[in-house]
Symmetry: D2
Subunit: 335 residues, 4 copies
């Protein structure tokens, strides 16, 4: 039975608490938040839960083996370090930190202490993403050519981070999970329309080896909500529409074929191929349930999480450099 303490009960924390409580082999003993109203709300939902406005009480609690952090990103590093220092396993919401250097420090600390450090890259635990990964790894797509994704709507403006830090962690963690290559460099553009220096529209390009290219469009100012990803390979092509209630992942048996010819004019001939479309059944499991279960599993078995500190660090590295590139109007930054 894993005993968990949760720091931060705002928008996302209660979902984590609910899911940890639902695990067969875990319990949530204590949670903290600066806002007493949030604590009262948690107490009403779970009368036996201890609450406190001092997050250090969560870390200091002798029963607590794992600390779950769902606070603003600027506080992640300090809280996670204290928790690891106190010998607790840490589950931290994404993005792991607000700087690359802090991320390294947390990874090292967890490694030194032999503790599990996991980042809440929830999409990595969705059935859609895992179906796509399975199709890529199984060779069904052939060589991956590009991944292009849009995550746009009339969104909740954040007061302290731009749209890249807010929305792109989803897409970057997905790309990191399904593209089996290390990104080489990044370039990004964006614009701020409210005059507060925080971009509300941004476009990020990630370069991988073998001419694989990833592109992310994040946007708080779109009249319509779009959550769409295209992934094309040499054999098949995927469109993933996360808004679609029933036909999320479509696999198109479409592509191009390059035929080498001896024709005197062109030495390559490009042919199109179109076939059936297939829409595999995607189980309707809650990703968060799998994610919290995975964290408990990793602690019990002493293994590295799928979304471990390094994965979290790679996402932060991309975010930091995307922001740098935006400030330099699209300058390429090597990773």
């Amino acid at each position: 039975m894993l005993t968990v303490g949760v720091i931060g009960c705002g928008y996302w924390g209660p979902n984590l608490i609910r899911n940890f409580i639902n695990l067969k082999d875990a319990r949530v003993k204590i949670c903290s938040d600066l806002d007493e109203r949030r604590l009262a709300h948690m107490k009403q939902l779970y009368p036996s839960l201890l609450t406190t406005t001092d997050y250090r009480e969560v870390i200091r609690d002798g029963d607590v083996e794992a600390v779950v952090i769902a606070t603003p990103v600027s506080t992640h590093f300090a809280i996670a370090r204290e928790a690891l220092d106190a010998g607790k396993h840490v589950f931290c919401e994404k993005p792991l930190t607000d700087s690359v250097s802090d991320g390294v420090a947390l990874i090292d600390l967890a490694d030194d202490r032999g503790l599990v450090l996991m980042v809440g890259h929830t999409f990595v635990f969705t059935a859609a993403v895992n179906k796509i990964k399975e199709l890529i790894n199984g060779g069904e797509l052939g060589d991956v050519y590009y991944l292009s994704t849009a995550r746009v709507n009339l969104g909740l403006f954040q007061e302290d981070i731009n749209v890249v830090w807010d929305l792109a962690p989803h897409d970057i963690s997905i790309m990191d999970h399904i593209i089996n290559h290390k990104a080489e460099s990044i370039t990004a553009t964006g614009s701020d329309h409210l005059g507060n220096g925080l971009e509300d529209v941004a476009y990020v390009t990630v370069f991988y080896p073998d001419n694989i290219i990833g592109h992310i469009h994040v946007n708080w100012l779109s009249p319509v909500k779009i959550r769409q990803t295209q992934i094309s390979g040499s054999k098949k092509m995927i469109v993933w529409d996360d808004n679609s209630p029933s036909e999320k992942v479509k696999v198109y048996d479409k592509g191009i074929e390059v035929v080498k010819t001896t024709d005197q004019i062109y030495d390559t001939l490009i042919q199109y191929r179109t076939g059936d479309m297939h829409c595999p059944k995607i189980p309707q499991t809650e990703a968060l349930a799998l994610e919290t279960e995975h964290f408990a599993d990793c602690i019990e078995k002493g293994i590295k999480p799928i979304s471990d500190g390094s994965a979290g660090w790679r996402v932060v590295q991309m975010l930091e450099n995307a922001e740098n590139s935006i400030k330099q109007r699209g300058k390429e930054i090597k990773l």
Copy 2:
């Protein structure tokens, strides 16, 4: 009665011939193509049309007042120069030339001779684009924030130009037409997956004054056909779906409002506003009919076309610099 000669009867030329023939005050006397089969086809459709494999015959024909050029882009400059030199008005398909310097030369030549030089930016004559321009100019959108457009499908690969030169002229000419500012700089990324050095996927960002940003996604490798443009302003937002048979332009009464407050924590408060959506009727006129009529009008009245040589040059400038930026992995290029 304007007498027209057409050079190039491949994919697009026949559409131009048909539309010029349909004009009340114009006739097509002669057309040329290197391929005799194309000429035979035109002859079958219009028995009285003269045909030739030598484009110079079209230019030299004493009756021909206006030369229409629908040949591969690499030949535009030479043919257009000869035609202008011969004192003919010129309608040239987009892009005007394959280099910025050639474009300038044509503009100067046309100006010196007092001839009309028009570029076939067909979208500028569509009812949808003009409805959008009307909404922007009438102030209904408020300040324009961004324009984001996608023109993707499993496309016809070109043997000599990349996807930017092939598809982006549409989007660039649209942006040039509806955004009432001069672009300041451009940055682009892209990738080539067939190994012939011609990008098949590309992303272009255009920076305008006042933090207006334009973004274009062009792609020959998409399993689905998308022709979608979003334009957001401070008051309303537009989604234009050119694939939709009946509801092409949707105007959303949505936006954000920045309220200055005296609150001690934040000095701005951002509020969302959502209202009705309106889908104006878009007349189903053929853009090409309006375009050819406009060319004839400009000749008759001695006025500059909407899509004149300068507009053509601005598009070429963007294309050339987008390509340069792609080769330098997103380097910003001042315009």
Copy 3:
């Protein structure tokens, strides 16, 4: 402060309990169900709620002023009669009863006792339906021509009622609410594919005066979920797609115009008219909140509910006769 007792805590009862609890001037004192597990669940959610397996305890409770019935339809009549006999106001889920004669008895009883009898026609309280009613009553549609609706999906088969009794109460209550005429007759067809005598697919036509016609397609065997209604009038036409998250009601400025001519061949000339489409903002209020509030209001102010016993009776009359018509393969039945 209205004191409510709820009979039936299966699928729908908990939603009613939650909404009555959320009312400012109401409380739920006691609830009953035959299944102890359901009662335990309710107790867990609302520790102060009394529970019982004997519905008569709810009716007998001296504090309870209003009884809410959310049990299988075959039990509605007996329970509602007992509650009214005991002097309680009654809110009964749809359909009110399983026979027309029982419905009349309940209406009479409520009238005699001066008690409120309301039926849970929830759709009548949705923002979409009320927007449509407003458009019709305001004359924007002109004369209503027809209403055609589909409510289909791979549905929950019921063990004791056919698809008409299960799904059509929604559509019939909507038609009853928005069409300002009394239905004249009904005809229906359907089919049973499981051999249990309960139709799983059915088509119902309702005839109104002035050639207004209503048609309902209900279906438990559809691979896709459709909740779509078309309403055409002489001036405008509506499409209501209840599945659409953001563009539920579309109003088309389309129609036909009949022009009387003196032409010798035809004495009428029909012309088409197409204009803009408009999508009014539909507030995202929970219909059930408005419905429960309306019940409390009616009790407090002594007024008839919008969905009173008579409305409930009219729906039952249609259901009963639709079923009769199906058994007679489409025979028209006068209402």
Copy 4:
């Protein structure tokens, strides 16, 4: 080389002429129409085509072996009879005749003379319909449960026939082609909103053996264009959206399973099954090309067409009885 004469060059005739001309082994020698402007138009398109305002010239022409009839339905019988009497094969547009008895006469006449009589049920030659027929015949759907179809839009009102005679021939011929049972009876409802006695909205139910049920919604007064058909079977379910440019036929691996149990409460248990969706590639052949080729083939080989006189007669029988049922407000009519 088959020599064809065409009677009627209005809306559809030119399409037939074009397709017969495109056949390798056929030519069109002569065509007729009452409207000289239509004939001039045909002459312009095909200068060698003979034209006449007297359809009897087409029939009398000694070279003409086959007469193609694309005139208003009320004239089909007289023209087809004359052509058969003159020993010509006949291709007649749908519906074959405007009465059942006339249809029988034509079938008998063609049989007596050993001539081919084919009806232009074009949908029977579409790739979509044939894919669906293949799935049904191959057993992939299991037992067919129902077919439900909608063909609605703001349509061209006909001056002499109602919406059933105008639009339902498509759906009835499709049902006749893919459901391998003889229809038992028909019932229909509809309404006329222009006061000319011609229904503009109608709903038709067709009863087949084994509880198979077909339903057709045809409508000239819909603000949106819908061409959708659902077909459910015991194993799989199909949705065919003929408006969709690329994903016309979707096959859902969904259904219900009836499990016999020994449970004391219910002796059947219904279970749902949902799996993948599959969208087979549908070739983009023009149905009319296949249809005209089939006619030429049948003449050459002396075989019965797929859409022969009997198929045409069955469609007319349904149309006639649907109209009768509408006039009797849904009365079932045995076939």
